[in-house]
């Protein structure tokens, strides 16, 4: 099987409300940026794949409109996932590995500001038994937080540390939405949104877009001397029936770790798609990352573009590895309630 590398990544500054800018106007600058960085154009791309959610825009086939941001003449090979763009990356990797394309452009976009995100995400769940109950994403996350606290897997201090550290890291991330520092007192006086989650334990409503370019082994060195190889990528999903899941653990992540043989890898950096504060210490423990610099970008707690934040975790890991010449990076993307569906990506830089 062909090896695949990430060769470029660009992210729009995350906005609380993009206002008059529509999705196309958010996508165009990042696609142009990632092309400009490599000195290439859409003509050099063999496969294009996007990730978004039509419910966010409130229009059927809204993702087709997103394609207006891309050069489509001469005709292009193109696909879309109604998921986080991390899964658009997965589809693109398969295309390159199978030899259908040597290069791929991946982009993700989402505006959470126009609608009620709690209701919208509710509709992403099992339409027969769960969606009719309209459970909101924060209450569902709070269920898992409560289970983790009760089982002493994490502590309230871990959650507070995740929030405070996210802001500290976010201060050096030019694209972060929240960069003002917090104190223990400010955190402690913040109201509960859904106990045990305070408002500050939840990610901010965010608008934005990101783009990434991957290439086969033959092509990668044409673009960069320093490709970041996708050494392993694996995604697994747990039951859509919340009642049948043990929220104190993550069989999907554990089996991915085993499958990718990550136990003995020493990671230099990690970026996790942890949208709520309790998820960060939980996954750090589960992935054995306690001593690994994690979410140096601030992560989703300082900017959480729906359908894009998973791709951003992979992109931020890539950026850190390029900038700091690191050898092993771990990225994580998630989808569904209470970390139901997880993707683990092992990135490697050969020296």
């Amino acid at each position: 099987m062909k090896k695949v590398a990430i060769v470029g990544y660009a992210q729009h500054k995350i906005l609380p409300n993009a206002g008059a800018l529509n999705e196309v106007e958010l996508i165009m600058p990042v696609v142009h940026k990632v092309f400009a960085d490599l000195g290439i154009s859409q003509d050099d791309i063999g496969f294009t794949c996007s990730g978004s959610c039509d419910y966010l825009q409130g229009a059927a086939f809204a993702f087709v409109e997103g394609l207006s941001a891309i050069q489509t003449y001469p005709p292009i090979k193109e696909s879309h996932v109604e998921m986080d763009a991390a899964w658009a990356l997965y589809e693109s990797i398969l295309k390159v590995k199978m030899g259908d394309a040597d290069t791929a452009l991946i982009y993700g976009f989402g505006k959470s500001s126009p609608g009620n995100l709690d209701s919208i995400i509710s509709l992403q769940m099992d339409p027969y038994y769960i969606a009719p109950l309209w459970p909101d994403r924060i209450s569902l996350a709070a269920l898992q937080a409560q289970v983790l606290l009760q089982n002493n897997i994490i502590s309230p201090d871990d959650m507070m540390a995740a929030v405070l550290e996210a802001r500290q890291h976010g201060a050096s991330n030019l694209n972060a939405l929240l960069t003002d520092l917090l104190t223990e007192d400010l955190y402690g006086s913040d109201a509960f949104k859904s106990s045990p989650l305070r408002g500050l334990d939840c990610p901010p409503i965010s608008d934005g877009a990101s783009a990434m370019i991957i290439a086969s082994e033959e092509k990668a060195f044409e673009y960069t001397d320093n490709p970041i190889w996708i050494e392993g990528i694996d995604h697994r999903i747990e039951s859509s029936n919340l009642g049948s899941r043990d929220l104190a653990t993550s069989p999907s992540i554990e089996s991915s770790v085993q499958h990718l043989q990550l136990k003995k890898v020493h990671f230099d950096v990690a970026e996790l798609h942890t949208q709520f504060s309790h998820e960060l210490p939980f996954l750090r423990k589960l992935l054995n990352l306690t001593n690994v610099p994690t979410n140096l970008s601030g992560g989703p707690l300082v900017g959480n573009v729906m359908m894009c934040a998973g791709l951003d975790a992979i992109g931020k890991t890539f950026e850190a590895m390029v900038n700091d010449q690191l050898t092993h990076g771990l990225a994580h993307a998630t989808s569904g309630p209470c970390l139901q569906h997880n993707m683990i990506v092992h990135l490697e830089r050969h020296s």
Partner: protein, 166 residues
């Protein structure tokens, strides 16, 4: 057991979501001009295609349409359909005609009504012009144009409208 306590084998569960729709900055500019009675398209700086209403990008080249192109309210019927089925809440009584209206110098068409002509006489390529509402009623909407009506000019061969990149 009374009737309303009879077991049901289904229930309706309506989904209602509200959004603050954003037209986008290009379309916002367009709508501000429509409010003043002007139709202004945007052209792609690369292929020169003119889009009206503009959506902010050229879907052919994937770049922003930065050139403003003032257009007339004249054009031709690129395609049309006769609507026979009444739509609830729509005040227009069938049968009526919806057409893809191609304004002169534009490279895409938009949907609008055709009136002021017998339905049997409507044809592809027919020359038409906008019939505007009274100025006092103008708002940020293409509904400022009540409909398009035929004008006394020779038909256009629509195959000549096919886009050629310059």
């Amino acid at each position: 057991m009374s009737n309303d306590q009879a077991p049901k084998d289904y229930r309706e569960s309506l989904i209602h979501l509200e959004y603050q729709y954003t037209a986008g900055s290009a379309t916002t500019t367009f709508l501000n001009q429509v409010k003043e009675g002007r139709l202004v398209g945007q052209a792609c700086p690369k292929c020169q295609a003119v889009y009206v209403p503009p959506r902010g990008s050229c879907p052919r080249d994937g770049i922003a349409t930065t050139i403003e192109v003032p257009l007339t309210d004249k054009g031709c019927i690129e395609s049309f359909t006769v609507v026979h089925i009444p739509i609830p809440g729509n005040p227009i009584v069938p049968p009526y005609v919806c057409a893809m209206v191609r304004l002169d110098k534009a490279n895409i068409s938009f949907l609008h009504l055709i009136q002021g002509v017998e339905i049997d006489n409507i044809r592809i390529g027919m020359r038409i012009q906008a019939v505007w509402k009274p100025k006092e009623e103008w708002t940020h909407s293409l509904e400022n144009i009540k409909w398009f009506a035929p004008i006394d000019e020779p038909d256009i061969d629509v195959s000549t409208l096919r886009f050629q990149a310059s």
